[in-house]
Symmetry: C2
Subunit: 232 residues, 2 copies
Amino acid sequence: MELLEELEIAPCNSSQYLRPFRLHYRQNGTKKFWDFMRTHDSVSILIFNITRQCFVLVKQFRPAVYMCELERHNPEVFQVKDMNDCCYPRDLLPASVGVTYELCAGIVDNPELSLAETACKEILEECGYNVPVANLRKISSYRSGVGVTGSKQTLFYAEVKDSMKTDIGGGKAEEGELIEVVEIPLEDAFNFSFDENLPKTMGVMFGFMWFQNNVAPLLPQKIKTNKITPIP
Amino acid sequence: MELLEELEIAPCNSSQYLRPFRLHYRQNGTKKFWDFMRTHDSVSILIFNITRQCFVLVKQFRPAVYMCELERHNPEVFQVKDMNDCCYPRDLLPASVGVTYELCAGIVDNPELSLAETACKEILEECGYNVPVANLRKISSYRSGVGVTGSKQTLFYAEVKDSMKTDIGGGKAEEGELIEVVEIPLEDAFNFSFDENLPKTMGVMFGFMWFQNNVAPLLPQKIKTNKITPIP
């Protein structure tokens, strides 16, 4: 259980994490502009533990998600307009409303690593499994946040075994990461996926459904009997 | 075909579209901060035209996506650091690298409309179909951009007929929207979904797969024969 205290919200004038730009352009003769942010491309990995027939996800407190929910309950929290102004909300929500379930993922910021190598590094750092690059299967790539960042995400599938678990995972503590590794049994995946009380990314939902269509039919019978059941 | 000219890129100090905030907080005793952006929640709609057995998507030029690709070819375009500095890239890419296929979607910014009503308004504005609210089926909701925005997206399914097309669609020209409505035949949906040369959002890929699992089995036989084929 996360303990959350001493919230202070202020407009952010300059950030090494958020780099806003404005593009002026002429499209089919009409002058326009668009504000957007530069971010890195990223990789994410659907991990299935074949030994225990479960998906391996990560779970972490996401300040941006938490603040969306806090604003729903206290619309005044973002009224601070002046750069020197701050808001100290008192009527807090439990931290759990900002804890999301996600696929293991990471940004692509080391040009010396391939996408698959970056994915393997993240699997080890966040989930503790040592996966050979050759074991990764690329599912596809797509665009995320097309209005704001437009960055490219590449999704991989990795099958792991208990014997590949060489580390505890949990992210890089020195970078402030506080990641919990969670296992979702295959037979619970469908209900988990569509339970809106458990905040999650679309990557989780897509990944589970892709597995059902593409991997489950090829699993040994023992596993297939636990397959995700469709909506009745 | 989009014609793109006169690009000018500059850091963006102040924007009515991008509202960056910094949250200071104490998590389990450790002081941290996180920079994020306030955005609206949104709705998106998987639209299937039953008359012509095709999905109805929107396609538009996305400056943020275009700039990701331009940076891949000209890494110097985002070197402008000074607020008064500008970059005028000469070696442009075709606009098509920034054109993405997306589900019909819109932000939730009118508190007088329900999510389903907002979805119906977007279907009419962007795609030209007049869909009764009762015809919408909610699929689920999830979190997008958990690191940066964390906003909630709610996904609906709408079945439409040619007779419901009362307008040309294309978005609100007065707001600068230039949206092309495209139809993807059901039998082409799988190949389209996994063709990485056609930039798209994960919403499109998830939607098509959800349809295959949840709607296609209930369609009349004539349609079922065109069902999306799984990976061989």
